[in-house]
Symmetry: C2
Subunit: 701 residues, 2 copies
Amino acid sequence: MKILVSILLVFCQSLGFAQTYPSLNLMPVPKALALGNGRFALVPGFTVSVMTEKTDLTLLSATNRMFSTLNRRTGLYFKQQYIDTNSSRESASLVIRTHQRTGMTIGVDESYQLVVGTKQIRLEASTTIGALRGLQTLLQLLDRDNTGFYFPEISIQDAPRFAWRGLMIDVARHFIPAEVIKRNIEAMAAVKMNVLHLHLSDDEGFRVESKRFPLLQEKGSNGQYYTQAEIKEIIVFAQARGIIVVPEFDIPGHTTSWLAGYPELATKPGPYIPGSPYHFDRSKPFDLMQVMQTVQNTAKPTFQPTKESVYAFLDQFFGEMANLFTGPYVHIGADENNGLTWKQDSLVSAFMRENHFNTPGEMQAYFVNKVCGILAKYGKKTIGWNELFTKTLPKDVIVQVWSPMSPPNIVGQILEQGNPVILSKGIYLDHFFPAYIHYNLQFPSEEILGGEAAQWTEIADAENIETRIWPRMAAVAERFWSPKTVRQVQDMYRRLFIISDELAESGLMHQANYDRMVRRFADGYNVKATKELLDVLTPVKGYKRLFGNWSLPESYVYPNAPMVRAADIAMVDPEDKWTFRNLVADYLLTKNASSVKAIREQLTIWSVCYQQLKPLFDSSPLAKEIEPHAKNLSALSQSCLEAMDIYQSGKQPGNQWMADQQTLMKTAARSVGDVELSVLPELNALISHQLTPLPESYSLF
Amino acid sequence: MKILVSILLVFCQSLGFAQTYPSLNLMPVPKALALGNGRFALVPGFTVSVMTEKTDLTLLSATNRMFSTLNRRTGLYFKQQYIDTNSSRESASLVIRTHQRTGMTIGVDESYQLVVGTKQIRLEASTTIGALRGLQTLLQLLDRDNTGFYFPEISIQDAPRFAWRGLMIDVARHFIPAEVIKRNIEAMAAVKMNVLHLHLSDDEGFRVESKRFPLLQEKGSNGQYYTQAEIKEIIVFAQARGIIVVPEFDIPGHTTSWLAGYPELATKPGPYIPGSPYHFDRSKPFDLMQVMQTVQNTAKPTFQPTKESVYAFLDQFFGEMANLFTGPYVHIGADENNGLTWKQDSLVSAFMRENHFNTPGEMQAYFVNKVCGILAKYGKKTIGWNELFTKTLPKDVIVQVWSPMSPPNIVGQILEQGNPVILSKGIYLDHFFPAYIHYNLQFPSEEILGGEAAQWTEIADAENIETRIWPRMAAVAERFWSPKTVRQVQDMYRRLFIISDELAESGLMHQANYDRMVRRFADGYNVKATKELLDVLTPVKGYKRLFGNWSLPESYVYPNAPMVRAADIAMVDPEDKWTFRNLVADYLLTKNASSVKAIREQLTIWSVCYQQLKPLFDSSPLAKEIEPHAKNLSALSQSCLEAMDIYQSGKQPGNQWMADQQTLMKTAARSVGDVELSVLPELNALISHQLTPLPESYSLF
């Protein structure tokens, strides 16, 4: 092994960091690598050996899963059946060696070295977790040509940029069943993430079984919650993949679902029914200002922060949960409490005066500090959203920065005070931004604990959530793991869609559920044409749907609200858009004949889609709302075909023709049915014979 | 309610049994129905009420699931959030009423009445289980036109033909994880099945955690088994859908996996390693007779039937399992014990002489009767495969008839002796027969308990098992439930593929996993063309693959053996074959222009598929083996286009041309790569201008 390590070091010294290699499909890109010219050919006699001091069941299971996937991808029917401690041989095709059996903790050594030689592959890591990361890299290295399947000769030395690489899933607004959570965990592991943060309670639902306070789930969940057995299963499943689970119980606001069963925790007697605290007057035409004012001026259901009985309840509750959730962190939310409910309450007001609290923020600091004390008693570290950050916050509380309204230097302020920071600002997946927007994020400091993408579920459910999170999450995971100099958007997208297929192949349902939703949308009619249209639609960005019109029925946050509109189905950052953009860019730059042909074929398909789908629009109310997009796409595709004819014949389009196209383009740019035509910039490029760069940011409203 | 029931009775009196209605997509077809002219239109204000004497959580959950599916299919955003006891109102859009809260037991009243009026829908059943069946019927009635979603006005009175309507899944040869089992349960419920029989142990694997005898799973499963928590979950999940779980522990043969941990149960000391007991000499050319003789002459690992310690072990083991599996039945297998191992053992031989047992069959009868006694002690009824049927078998033991070699009148013999019968002979889904073969099955008696389809998994795994079972299972489920006069194959297939889409829409993965496997097979190359080809391939029938050649590596029964060949992917009874057959039939009968056009389009696609896929065949060993099929399909499609030209111009093809086609057809009929071209009869029909009926049966070898 010593010789191999020496070679590795020599290789690595000759390298700059963070180059990307067009022949490789790794995501995230490793810290350093050196590519050789040879290859390790896979054959049925391929064997695997795990060499550890103590039996490491986590590593053995992960190795068997990797082996199984490799076997399936290659169809080689490996002769070795199973990898266990008895299979330890230095002569195995793949030798995995670790020096320390460890579970996943934040800050554990996740580095590994992977050396693929032509005769043997060696994966070495200090810890179990490092080896798990390396196994994923090995799987991503698999390649094939007409001689068969192989790994390229390569030396990789890898370690993460940030210790905390998380995904938050809101399971309160729409419940996300355990099996969907598990699929997300599997995919997270594939891109070397290590924290799953579950937003388990909110106004709309309480999603964990409490044996101590059963009315939490009985009155707060409409029957949709995780049993404690399921929670245990999720935690074990995640641990086996080097991922910790962080539970969030959002308090003192966002608590209507708790109050349904235990109204005595609130300032007012209730009764409370799980649901959004906001009530908009939908009889009037939509007015954004009106909506914003309603949001700001609503006195929302909130815990009573002065009663000792409330803290006694929380003590018992967190005692139970601290036992169930075995990890070291508990997230207490503490966001978006506007303080109105407290101001209106005479007991709370009196208490504030007595204690010289001038603002609800000081009252909340009192609440937060008491809860931190409870959690500390149970050996847990507290995390909260950035609203919980105050001058008096204990130094060990982790602050998760999210709010777009927070000051630009908030991260610096928190770090200066000594609190650890997790960054989520700029990484809200439910903003429906393309992957490159999040990928381009510059982290304000290398001193933060790490980052966390957030997927809220007001308008996502168990069926479409994978299409919302993936594959964009993989691009963000690269931002968390890879050196900050890895920033080529073009190459990121190339790899992103390869990884996306690999995730689907391993069981993630983002593609399968998309297909399923498309078929349901087409409802027995022309599925192919329906898919061609939906493939290039994308949901409106930011909060344009959630707060931007009355298109969502009042019941949108109910767990049973079906997410079946085009806006729920359309991919957030569709692959077809990027394929088409690349073709258009190539055509404009090189006039490459194959690009011309491919573009013309695509435009021809789009040009008839309106006509093909007319019967569907005429019979399905759900399809009807996107009819204008089909009409515009077909018309613009026809224009583009004309434009290509004109430019290719060496002429320029006439002024009137151009003016007509601009009018058409403006019509097409209107969002209808809460979706947009994602390929407008590219269609415009074909008409104007010039491709303009995509926006560097998008607005939230 | 009285008035509605009276109307229903009048409707039903005017009806013969078992008609099918082209406008309805029900599967299984109900016992009796009367269709009106009106409709019940679905609107967001649609409400549901459950009226029961005692709170019926099973019915409430099932109703909420139905409501949720309805909401998703229609996208109507129903205003009612959730159905609970508080929602009980006679004025609801849908009123569900039962008279008795019951769990699922064999023989429970599963009948129901469903009356869809223009203003209200009423579902009434004696028991919870009847109501669950009726909810599935209601969902299948959903229809849509340009006015929106609706239920047709209808009265249905329904009850099953047989009490036992089962599916057996072998989870021993390839392990099938709990989530896959749950998806199958959900699909079974949709077609009114009520028994899931799990074949939990066999030579190749022991798949349940035993706390009493942990070496069973530790040495017998390669880590692939259900924890007791998972078993409990499966049982609860099934119960909630009106399905009982029957565990099978196959003894005294088929027990290598038990013996790996507990060799003292066997006649010989071992050691034992889980795996097939057969060892074929693969160095010689394949010879079916040789294989059959090996199978017959192998002395296989078998329990020692004379030691009291073996019965003491089984007593403790079944004591634990009787507790875990809460249902009333335990299946003990008892099949395929050829007695050679016992004959070779001096202790067993001595015991047989002492007890005047002339055959191993009598020895096994002794064993079976003792085990029945143990199970009776734990309150369980015994089931076994037909080999356990002897003159001395206790009358309450249920006999599951399976063997193609069993005498034709075996069912009569068993019934005569007074033992209940479950029929599986002729319903082996792993024989790869088209659905109509099983659908045409004539049951030998109406007095049997019922039927059970069987899916063995020597060549099926977690990924493709849903494509093996479904949608064919739905046709068999109709045979189990509907009156025996319901037999129109054409209409069965029409409904089968509609149900198939509905099952996919509800979460079954038979379509999604097929797509996933096709994408993996194409490995980044032309997925569309690959799918066109695989869509019309079908696995060779019977045991032609399992015992018909050496194409399966020795390791095929290992849990890690990947099922990724074309033969593992291709659908057993592909929809495209039936679509094409219908077109061809219509063309030959009516010369309908739209059929001509559709056939020509399909033939044109097939005619280029060989050329399109050549690069894939040249680079992928997995694809290479089906290259001849692509070549033949393309050539024959070209011939068919020529034939259509000839016949349409009023001419007849020349003799030489015809002879050439017959040669080509013969070549194409050879099975290559363990798959066949499913559309050969239809291509032949286009060439010969005559469609011949499909075979009424297929051979197993």
